[in-house]
Subunit: 109 residues, 3 copies
């Protein structure tokens, strides 16, 4: 049993959760915030058996995509001026970051 912790962009979260569900994987969703851009994003927790792990990784790679954000350095993202008024910096935001942890014990009640 592994615990996959995946941080994804909000724009991809619904499609990703829907695909997990259709493939009979169960997922728990937490609202999170990226420390750098200070934008809301989504942290997913999936307990997956070793047999389902490859499927789970594949779904993440299919459903999440990289995007580019333009920000004015020093200004919180929510207060960004129109891009042509500033010298925006391009920040690549990955589709997903995933950490796979070993589960020593697992139980359900």
């Amino acid at each position: 049993m592994k615990l996959m912790v995946v941080i994804v962009q909000d724009a991809d979260a619904a499609a990703l959760v829907k695909e997990f569900t259709q493939k009979r994987l169960t997922v728990t969703k937490l609202a999170s915030t990226g420390g750098f851009l200070r934008e809301g994003n989504t942290t997913l927790l999936l307990g997956v058996s070793e047999t389902d792990l490859e499927t789970a990784k594949q779904i993440v790679q299919d459903k999440c995509r990289s995007r580019t954000r333009f920000i004015t350095p020093g200004v919180p993202v929510a207060e960004q001026p129109e891009p042509f008024l500033a010298q925006p910096v391009e920040v690549p935001v990955g589709g997903a970051v995933a950490f796979i942890l070993n589960v020593e014990e697992f139980f359900k009640v």
Copy 2:
């Protein structure tokens, strides 16, 4: 030291946290959402010593109980019609799902 990650139903969370506290266990609570039913639930994080692990597991088993939800397939839970107007599907929702992870290093400030 182990980190126990437990996902429980909101209906059981308060009694569970109260019991952990009375047994001198410390817990951190996060608001989460189940991916399938899209209902709010609770994710608890407990760092527990190996000596307290059995107690922690016992408390989860005592305080959390399975329930049945009736849902109309395809309709988000929040918009469910009255059960007798639809052909509801019975979805068992477990009392708790717990993942016990090994902690390599632990420190407090």
Copy 3:
């Protein structure tokens, strides 16, 4: 690769995240609640390489500090009377509690 899960007081979270960012560490922030005092706090997730781990621990120790809360036993913190009207109990609240977990697999999309 390690996953550091750090629970800190809200009062220290902004300075801590800012310092991680300046040291080129990426962090994901979750809103959480302490089970005992039932006050909001912050849970941070940092995937860190083994080379950055010492730096990450150092930053937590520098930016987080212990405080004392005075509470009236049995009354939720939000409803605490003025201290001089009650017999408050001193509760030490640590600056941070950190769990370092081993990451078996890590990938980005």
